[in-house]
């Protein structure tokens, strides 16, 4: 079977899964089966087919599993968002259309030679910095939940950090490909860029109050530095620097300190001062309310979950139990409705996506492609780890989206562009090897 036919087969499976998911939500809500649930699934299946046809035309030799996996993750995400809030799901559907458009444009523009991106590396570097700085601007920048990550233009809201991440990876792939010989020699003056980016990550941390993003950017940088130079020592030094920087930030920034306290001690048996109400309260009713309710949600899911559409996300009076459920906390919603078995499958899909990406990096021919594929894949893996790890209390929780699944336009668009990058590299890796 040809690669693209295999992709089509997998997409059909994803289409059936989407139909089942929507049907389950629909039946649980209205106790009837209706063609409406099938028309939603049909809509998404048509969308994936469009993406598939674009792949057929532009990247015929690309990896046939990446697109179906991305489609599955978006389908599960949009099903759960639909279950939580149909209006949001409609908006998310529109964003997925935009994202598939962005993927098509990426593939069409770069199908002949994506390697020419390398000549614009400094432009991408500056672009990344510019995008990262946007939320800090006074008028359009916006602070949500203590972290300054959003930009507001009219009624449109987006998180420029998501796109900055990809620009940064393109920049690093070009830069490290050029400088890796010098870096590998390990002279002290060559550590300049390393320190500069460490400083940048710390600045992002202080400016946005967001530990997750800083960890993400710095992690991407270290992983790519390792790919470029093969020096474990650099990773060691980088991790040490990051820990030292975090310790300093922990001491001086209250917001970061709160996050760590919530992580280590979400429950208290006696009232502690509560910043939200100004009165003493148990921590689980105040600062760690969100995390604790999310943990209960995970526990309620048990092995096989309540079934899509049957989870409990509201109090008896109809108030939502968990704030930011369909963005940062969508994993705990899924864990409740699909159970451990279901979310384990979800995490397996993430792992397989990462193994495909790493395989693409392994087989890529030139340094730029290798670095690009490895960087994109690693950013995807690390982002998933940061949010799922945060929800599962492995690391302090930071609000970051779960790739492809969470509600959020900028995130979906950025992840489809990331997917486009991997498809392009894998296409070049199989066909144009000369």
């Amino acid at each position: 079977m040809s690669l693209r036919n295999r992709e089509l087969m997998n997409l059909v499976v994803v289409g059936i899964l989407t139909a089942l998911g929507f049907a389950s939500v629909y039946i649980a809500r209205q106790s009837v089966v209706s063609t409406a649930s099938l028309s939603y699934a049909g809509f998404f299946f048509a969308l994936y087919l469009a993406a598939h046809l674009v792949c057929r035309l532009t990247v015929p030799a690309a990896d046939p599993y990446l697109l179906p996996m991305a489609a599955l993750l978006t389908a599960i995400g949009v099903t759960e968002i639909y279950r939580l809030n149909p209006t949001d799901a409609f908006r998310q559907g529109l964003w997925i259309v935009v994202a598939v458009g962005a993927l098509s444009v990426t593939l069409a523009l770069l199908r002949t030679d994506y390697r020419r991106l390398e000549s614009y590396k400094y432009l991408f570097g500056l672009g990344a910095i510019g995008l990262l700085m946007l939320p800090a601007l006074p008028v359009i920048g916006e602070s949500v939940n203590g972290a300054r990550l959003w930009v507001h233009v009219g009624s449109l809201q987006f998180q420029p950090g998501e796109l900055a991440k990809i620009a940064l990876i393109v920049f690093l792939a070009g830069y490290l490909r050029e400088k890796r010989e010098v870096l590998a020699q390990g002279r002290l003056k060559d550590f300049g860029p390393l320190l500069l980016i460490w400083g940048g990550a710390m600045l992002v941390l202080v400016e946005t109050n967001d530990l997750g993003s800083a960890l993400l950017y710095f992690g991407i940088f270290l992983a790519m530095l390792y790919v470029a130079t093969g020096r474990v020592l650099y990773v060691g030094i980088g991790v040490a620097l990051f820990l030292a920087g975090s310790a300093v930030v922990y001491t001086y920034v209250g917001h970061v300190r709160d996050r760590v306290t919530i992580w280590l001690h979400p429950w208290t048996s006696h009232p502690v001062p509560c910043a939200l109400s100004g009165k003493p309260a148990l921590r689980q009713d105040c600062a760690s309310y969100q995390l604790v309710k999310s943990l209960y949600s995970l526990a309620h899911g048990n092995w096989f979950g309540t079934g899509l559409g049957k989870g409990t996300f509201e109090t008896t009076s109809g108030h939502p139990l968990i704030p930011y459920l369909n963005t940062d906390f969508i994993y705990s919603a899924l864990a409740q409705e699909l159970g451990l078995v279901g979310v384990a499958a979800l995490l397996l899909v993430y792992m397989l996506f990462v193994t495909r990406g790493m395989k693409i990096a392994l087989l890529a021919d030139d340094g730029f492609s290798k670095l690009l594929a490895a960087g994109l894949t690693f950013s995807f893996a690390l982002q998933t780890f940061i949010i799922v790890g945060g929800i599962l209390r492995i690391i302090p929780l930071t609000g970051i989206t779960l790739p492809f699944v969470s509600y959020g336009g900028s995130s979906v668009v950025a992840n489809f562009i990331l997917l486009g990058g991997l498809l392009l590299v894998s296409n070049g890796g199989t066909v144009d090897r000369s």
């Binding site: 899964l17 389950s24 409406a36 599993y65 130079t229 093969g230 096989f304 899909v349």
Partner: protein
Amino acid sequence: MIYASIAVEEALLVIKIVFLVLLYLFIWRIVRAAARDVGLPQESFVLAPGSIPGLGEQHAVEAGRLVVLKSPALDEGEEWELDSSALTLGRGAQNDVQLEQDEYASSQHAKVEPRRDGVWLEDIGSTNGTYLNGIRLKHPKRLTPGDVVRVGETELRYEA
């Protein structure tokens, strides 16, 4: 719209089970594909020191040669040394290995290409197909010494 009233609980249970089973089947398909790939040449992630694409030592490998076994176009025993660039086979005059008298060969038939991970045989759009050890080639394959490549009515052996 068509409505049908059914036993809700049972329907949801069935959907849940089918959903999970299908989800794991999907994963299984991909894992199986990944398992097949284990046989592919593996390289390190880490960029090899000094391997600048385009030049560098990766092309200076000893690539082997092709020896004619039988052919209506070429003499038996004739040899082509493989170096860094690809060797094209076909009836057209632009080919490295010209098969003018071979009626069954296409003008651009096949390509033998030394890459960093070995020597690869690829069909470049022939009419009658390229055969590796008697099996028609569907996608590029890596050659191992002793392999017999058939293009039209010409047979060549790859030797290290």
